[in-house]
């Protein structure tokens, strides 16, 4: 294993260990995810037919909000006791830290999504009429899109006042094309109209992921070492 990926793995396992030990964070996140699903379900109570058309949007917005709360929190740990300084003075490359944080966030948000999805299916009586297996790549690509930029902007907002509100302020506009793609892809799959396909959306999501992962990796060092 080359040095940077070793550091990435070490940082990732460290984060997972810390997350596991401070169980209040996980518990409150899980409960928040549950609340979001319930509140959304109360607000919209559609018939099964209609629900397929709107569920895509609702689910992804719920995931987005849960992700923002999770993202804010994973960097907060590095600010306590100024631990980030210890990383900055070390020879460890900035990108190793970024990847570790992004992957860690991805796992965390995926966990939340895995929890929220069955609840949504239950409350909205969802059943995919299209190729349901396609939902998995959409979920993976979409979650990565939110998480990669979210990790980057969360790090950026460490250097701002009103840190917690800056993250969604910066993240949401940039994420719009990805969000549109996720929602449309999901809706297409759920509705199962044979004349449409989610493939274009998946390609767009993949492009978005590649473009912004590259951008984040190129610019993260600058952000990390900004005073």
């Amino acid at each position: 294993m080359s040095a940077p990926s070793g550091i990435t793995m070490a940082t990732l396992t460290k984060d997972i260990r810390l997350e596991w030990r401070s169980k209040d964070a996980i518990n409150s996140m899980l409960f928040f995810a549950l609340l979001v699903v319930v509140v959304f379900s109360f607000s919209f109570d559609p018939v099964a037919e209609e629900s397929r058309h709107i569920a895509g949007g609702l689910v992804w917005i719920a995931f987005l909000f849960a992700a923002v709360v999770a993202l804010n929190q994973t960097w907060a740990r590095e600010i306590r006791n100024q631990v980030l300084d210890a990383y900055r003075v070390s020879p460890a490359p900035a990108n190793a830290l970024f990847l570790a944080k992004a992957v860690g966030n991805f796992i965390f948000v995926a966990l939340l999504e895995a929890l929220m999805t069955p609840l949504f299916i239950m409350f909205y009586k969802l059943r995919a009429l299209g190729p349901a297996w396609q939902l998995l790549p959409v979920a993976v690509l979409g979650t990565w899109a939110i998480v990669v930029n979210g990790t980057f902007f969360a790090a950026m907002s460490l250097r701002t006042r009103s840190r917690e509100i800056m993250l969604p302020l910066l993240l949401f506009p940039i994420t719009i094309p990805a969000l549109l793609s996720m929602v449309e892809a999901t809706t297409t799959i759920l509705v199962g109209d044979p004349s449409t396909s989610a493939k274009f959306w998946m390609v767009l999501l993949a492009t978005y992921d590649v473009v912004f992962t590259t951008g984040c990796l190129a610019l993260f060092e600058t952000v990390l070492h900004a005073e």
Binding site: P177, V211, T222
Partner: protein
Amino acid sequence: MKKAFPILGLLTAALLSFALYEALVVAPREQTMGDVQRIFYYHVPSAWTAFLLFAINFLASVQYLVRPRPQADKIANWIVIALGALTSIGAYVVRPLPQNMYPSSVVTTGVAIVGLYFLIKKYFSEQETDILALTTAEVGVVFCTVVLVTGPLWARPVWGIWWTWDVRLTSTLVLWLIYVSYLMLRRFSTSGQTPVLAAALAVFGALDVPLVYFSIWFFRTQHPQPVIGGGGSIDPRMLHVLLINWLAFLCFAFLVCWSRYRLEQLQREVEETQALEALLEPRSTVR
């Protein structure tokens, strides 16, 4: 600046008045929409001006990021030239062009962007590129707001709806959101290196723009809705008035940017002088 500015100001005022006259009186009455269509002469030039300003912001941000690193600087030069070349070639190869654009206008845009990049590189120092980025972002947001306000004002009487998620209007809205978040970052940042963070955000925004455009374009092909502003060719007399208005808007934007730029420059000079004074004067031992 003391001499040139008032003169240019008067000229611009004259040009704007002339352009207004052209738009309201001289331009032919549109067949289907009537006089309401004349708002088009405000809507479209504002959009083009906003896009130009945001493009300059992007180029200035890239410059600000790469100039301290000579290697990245060289790579950026080549990328810019390559993009210009690709755009020019693509304008004649890709058929049909989206939004019924003319190949010549695409080539002009491509070449202009390359030209602007190297002009900025030559005439603006590192600090000045940052001031340029800030200025164009602020003025760009204002013009973008004009687009977003005139759009619905136009749509309502003509199509009966305030808003439609059509490609151009939605893309403009997202661009506006991105740049407002840019301005918020500038305002809320406590870092000593705000310009760097803002430049990074501007680059992200620019990377986002084509993705925004394609995603909404495809969305629209799936869910068609009326297009505000229409596509298709434009009556040459209308084009003439449109271009006059654009020229007037560009002059106006230039003046506003110039004064904002000078303001920021002077403000920074004052801060630097104050900092220098604080450096030189003896500090009391009791704090």
